[in-house]
C-alpha cells in the first residue's frame, strides 16, 4: 500500500531538485524548468492530500496551478527572449543592473 508519506517524500524530492536548480544554474531556461519542478511538487502535495482527505478541492487547485503554470511559462519564455535580444545571452547573472 502506498501511503500519503510516499507522495510527500516524492514532492519534497521534486521540490528540492527544483530549488537546487534555481540556486545553482545560470541558464534562464534551466531556471524556468526548475520553477516548473517546484510547482509540480506543490501540485503533487495538493492532489495527495485531496485524495487522502477525500476532498476534491485540492485537485481543483492543482488544475488551476497547471493552468497558471502554462501562462507563467509563456511569460517566462517571453522574458528569456527579451533577455537574449538585449544581452545576446540567457545567463541570469549578466543582467544585474536592476539594483541600487
Amino acid at each position: 500500500m502506498i501511503g500519503i508519506e510516499h507522495y510527500i517524500v516524492l514532492s519534497m524530492a521534486l521540490f528540492c531538485i527544483g530549488l537546487f536548480g534555481v540556486l545553482t544554474r545560470r541558464n534562464a531556461l534551466m531556471f524556468l524548468m526548475s520553477v516548473e519542478l517546484m510547482l509540480n511538487a506543490a501540485n503533487i502535495n495538493l492532489v495527495a492530500f485531496a485524495f487522502y482527505h477525500g476532498n476534491i478541492t485540492g485537485q481543483i487547485f492543482a488544475l488551476f496551478t497547471i493552468a497558471l503554470a502554462a501562462a507563467e511559462v509563456a511569460i517566462g519564455l517571453g522574458i528569456i527572449l527579451v533577455l537574449y535580444r538585449n544581452f545576446r545571452d540567457v545567463d541570469v547573472t549578466v543582467p544585474s543592473q536592476m539594483r541600487w
Binding site: 530549488l19 534555481v22 540556486l23 545553482t24 545560470r26 531556471f31 541570469v92 547573472t93 543582467p95 544585474s96 543592473q97 536592476m98 539594483r99 541600487w100
Partner: protein
Amino acid sequence: MEEFFTYAPAIALLPLAAFVVALVFGDAMPKKGAIAGIFATAGSLGLSLLMLAAVASGEVHHETYYEWAVGDTAGHTAAEGIAFTFGILIDPLSALMLVIVSLIALLVHVFSLGYMNAEGEKGLPRYYAELGLFTFSMLAFVFADNLLMAFMFFELVGLCSYLLIGFWFRTKSAPSAAKKAFLVTRFGDYFFLVGVVAIGATFGTLAFAGDGSFVAEAEAALDGGETLFGFDAETWITITGLLVLGGVIGKSAQFPLHTWLPDAMEGPTTVSALIHAATMVAAGVYLVARMFGYYALSPSALAIIAFVGGFTALFAATMAVVKDDIKQVLAYSTISQYGYMMLGLGVGGYVAGVFHLMNHAFFKALLFLGAGAVIILMHHEQDMWKMGGLKNKAPVTYYTFLAGALALAGIIPFSGFWSKDEILYDAIILGLESNVFLAAYAMGLLAVFFTGFYTFRMVFLTFHGEPRSDAAEDPHGIGWSVKAPLVVLGVLSLVAGVANLAPVGKLLDLDIMFLEGWLDGEYGGLEELTYGFYGDMLPYETALIGGSEETTLLVAAALSLGLAFSGAGLAWKLYNVPEPTEHTQRLGGARDVLRSNYYQDEVQVWLAEGVTLPVARAADRFDQTVIDGVVNGVSSVSLFGSSWLKRIQTGLVTNYAALLVAGFIGLLLVLGVYGGWFL
C-alpha cells in the same frame, strides 16, 4: 440724551477718516492734511462733550458692536464660552477721558500748523495721517468695553508712537529712539498679553463692566474661596493683575521700563505733547483706572502699584534736576508725574489718580507746546543754557508756560496742586494705618521738592536772566496757531483744579468735589464702576493725624506746599540771576550718576549684552551641538547602516532565492526551537 450714543463710534472713526484722507489726499490739500485732522478732532471733541453731557444726565452706554469670535469651551469659572467682541463703554471715566484726549489732540493739531507747516517740514501728510491714527487708537482704547479690545488699541497706540517718534527718519537718533520706544513698551506688553490670556482663560470673559465682567467673576471667585489654576483666588488675581501691570509699566514709563521715554523726545515736540499728555503714556494709567475694581481685589498688586509709582516719582524727579535740554526736563517730569498717578491709584485714591491724570494732561500738554513755542522762538535750539531773557520778548509763551510750570510744581491754586495734594493725602491717611505705605508717601513727598526745583530751574533758565545766545537775542516770531492752544491750556491749567477742591470742600464743609461725585456715579454711571463701589472693595483702612480730618488735610497740604515752595525757592536763588551758572559741580559724584540717568541705559544694555546674549549663545550652542548632534547622529547612523545593507541587493536573482531559502530555514529553526520540535 440717550440718542447721542448712536454717534459714539464716530468719536474714534472721525480721526480714522482723517488718517485716510491725510494719507491719500494730503499732498493735494492746502495745509497738507492738517485741515482734515483739525476737523476730525474737533468733531470728536464735540461728540465727546455730547457724551459727557449724556452721562451727566444719568445715561450710560454699553453696547457690543461686533462679535468676531465666540468660543465653545467654558472658562475656568464661567459656564459659557468666551466671546471676543468690539464694544463701546461710555461711563463717567471714559467720557471724561474722551474729552481730554480729543481736546489735546485738537490743540496739538492746531499747534502743528505753526510748528510743522510754518517751519516748512517735509512729509507733512504722513505726519498728519499718523496723528490721526494715533488719536483714533487712543480714543478707541479709551471707550473699549473689554480687555482684549483695549489690548489691541493699546498696541496700535504703541505702533503710532513708534511711527511718530521716528518721524524724522533720516536722522540717526530718531529711528533708534523709535525702535527703543517700541521694543521697551513691547517688552511690557508681552506681559500684558499673557495677562489678557490668563484673565480670559480664568474667568471666561474679558468685559470691563456688566453682570459677567471679569471683575465680578473674580470677586465671586474670591468670595467663594475658589482655587484657580492651583492658586487660591487672591494669589491668582494678583498674578494676573501684575501681568497686565507689565503693559502699564511699559506704556506709562514706570521704573524700570521708563528708559524709552526720554529718548522719545527725538520726535517732533507736538508729538511729545500728544504722547505725554493724552495718548501713549496716559494709556497705562488709564488702564489701571479702568480695571480698578480688579486691582482693588488684590492688596498686594495695589501695594506694588503704589511703590512702583512712588519710587518712579522720586527717581525720575532727581534725574530731571541736571538736564540741559528743555524737552528732557519735561520728559523726566512726565515719568515722575505718572509715578504720582500710580501712587494715587495704588493707595486707593481712585479719584485722586484720575484727577491728576486730567490735570497733568492739561499742564503737560501746555508745557510741551510751550517748549515747542520756545523751540520756534530759539530757531530750533533746545539747550536751556543758550536761552534766557525770553520773558519780555514772548509774553504769551512766558505766562502760559509759567501757568503750566506752577501747576507742575504743585503751587496753590494751580490745578496740579489740588490733585497732587489729594494723592499725597490719600497716601498719608493709608500710611498712618499701615505704616509700610509711609515709605511710598515719603518718596512722593520728597519728589515734590525736586519737582519744584527742576520746574523753576527750567523756567528761570529759559525765560529769565540775560539772553545767552544770538537766537535768544532775536527770537523768531510765533503765530496765532501756536498762541491759541497755549492760552486754552494755560487757562485750563489754572482752573481745572476747581473740578475737585477736596481740601477746601472738606475744611469748609462745602459740596464742591464735583469729580469725586462724577466718578462716584452721582450724575449717572454703572454701579460696579463707581468710586464708592471700589471703596467698599478696597482692603484698606485709613487713619488720621490726631483723629481729625482737618488737621491731616492741613498738615499734608502744608508739607507738600512747603516742599514745593522750597524747591522753587532754591531754583530762584540759584538760577534767577542775570548770568546763571550750572551749580551741578556742588553735587559731587552724584552729578555724574544723575547725568547718566543712574546708568539705567547701561544697566539695560548690560542685561542684554552681559546676561541675555551669553544665555542665548549657550542655548544656541546647546542647540547646535546636543540637539543637532542627536539628529545628525541618527541620520548618519542610518545612512552608514543602509550603505552597508544595500549591498545584499546584488541584482542576481539567484542570490535572492538563496536569501529566501535561508530566511525560510531560519524561520523554521526559530519556530522549531520555540515550538519544541527538537525535544
